[in-house]
Subunit: 201 residues, 2 copies
DNA sequence: GACCCCATGTAAAGGGTTACATGATTTA
DNA sequence: TAAATCATGTAACCCTTTACATGGGGTC
């Protein structure tokens, strides 16, 4: 299971479930999401299987913390997963399903509105990733091509996943634009046809 | 739930669960996937909720077929869903998670192999979608820009989803290439550095 | 006779979301 | 004193995957 391996990957240094949730939001949010209510039992499972071990430590503020660290078996399991074939899951894109059947509404202005809202959402996400990229590049003091100028190999790997998000969202925005153009052309043509008919009548 | 609505969308004419599975493979496979064992109970649920009704009919070959058709309520439910906001689910891209942590292997050739295999998979999928597009364009006898030349609005809607798949996979392949180039540059640089050190020693 | 396609399902297990419960400390 | 943050969890439900069960008809 991927969540388990992501948790193993994040535990290069000891951390609690709560810490790991923060880390999720900070660093892998663009390709994975997990609720706390999913993380806690996952950590317990991993400990039961001997891939993690935990100790309870008092917290400076708030209740006690259960802090996990990787065992040797945990590291082995992670490396095995990293050497696996690329895991590609089935896409399930509900908004494409909506669009696919939207012809049934027999009103292209519905589709136009839908695509405009979709474009907005995609563009917002793209802007967020680009801001993260800019911030990163600033932090490491890199000006030109991040991919070749990054020193650290670990940072390089992380950065490539951000690049994927940017490529992907850019292509989605482009697709929205292509589609919106086509819709507008179709609507314009339909309007002209109607006018001609009205004039003729 | 989206599966339910996709089934409603597909039932413009009466069909059995088995038929609908074929239809899944034929027409929405690039953005949705469902097992038969998921489709049968889904149809039952929809019938219980009054959005579908079914009749059992004998089959020319094999066992009896349970054929479903939409009710008025079913059509209403579908249209409501179509008028909803675009539904964007959380992406969960396991292969990006693998890549994100792959620096831990401390061997860029592992990453290179991984990215080559990933590129292969993406390119294969892209080729499949492009073949479908070509076939389609041939079938409707359209030569130039499909999006504006398609007559039927329903066909237009379906075609846009195929275009999304093509855009998306093309951008993934491009990202793989960008990443592979960067990896090769890094490896070349590392090799040069090693040589210099060997010469010096 | 073996195998594939037609056709319908159930059952168990895995993975994810939403809601609920609890309670301490810090900040406005 | 109210709200936010720290911190850990459980429970119910929903969706998906995998495995199992059944049996007729046609083809090699």
């Amino acid at each position: 299971m991927s969540l388990d391996h992501i948790l193993l990957g994040m535990l290069h240094e000891p951390a609690s479930g709560y810490d790991l949730k923060q880390e999720f939001e900070r660093s892998v949010r663009h390709f994975w999401f997990a609720e706390l209510s999913q993380i806690y039992p996952a950590l317990k499972r991993l400990e039961d299987r001997g891939l993690l071990q935990s100790t309870v430590v008092p917290s400076s503020r708030g209740p006690e913390r259960r802090v996990f660290e990787t065992t040797e078996d945990g590291t082995k399991a992670l490396e095995e997963w990293l050497r696996d074939e690329p895991i590609i899951a089935q896409d399930r894109l509900a908004y494409l399903a909506q669009l696919f059947f939207m012809g049934k509404l027999e009103d292209l202005s519905e589709t136009e509105g839908f695509m405009e809202r979709l474009r907005g959402m995609m563009a917002t996400r793209l802007a967020i990733l680009q801001a993260i990229e800019a911030e990163w590049m600033g932090a490491i003091g890199v000006a030109g091509d991040g991919l070749t100028e990054i020193e650290d190999d670990r940072v390089f790997h992380m950065y490539t996943t951000l690049r994927m998000g940017i490529h992907s969202l850019r292509s989605r925005v482009e697709w929205c634009d292509e589609t919106l153009n086509a819709i507008r052309e179709r609507r314009a043509r339909a309007a002209t046809r109607d006018e001609t008919e009205v004039t003729r009548a």
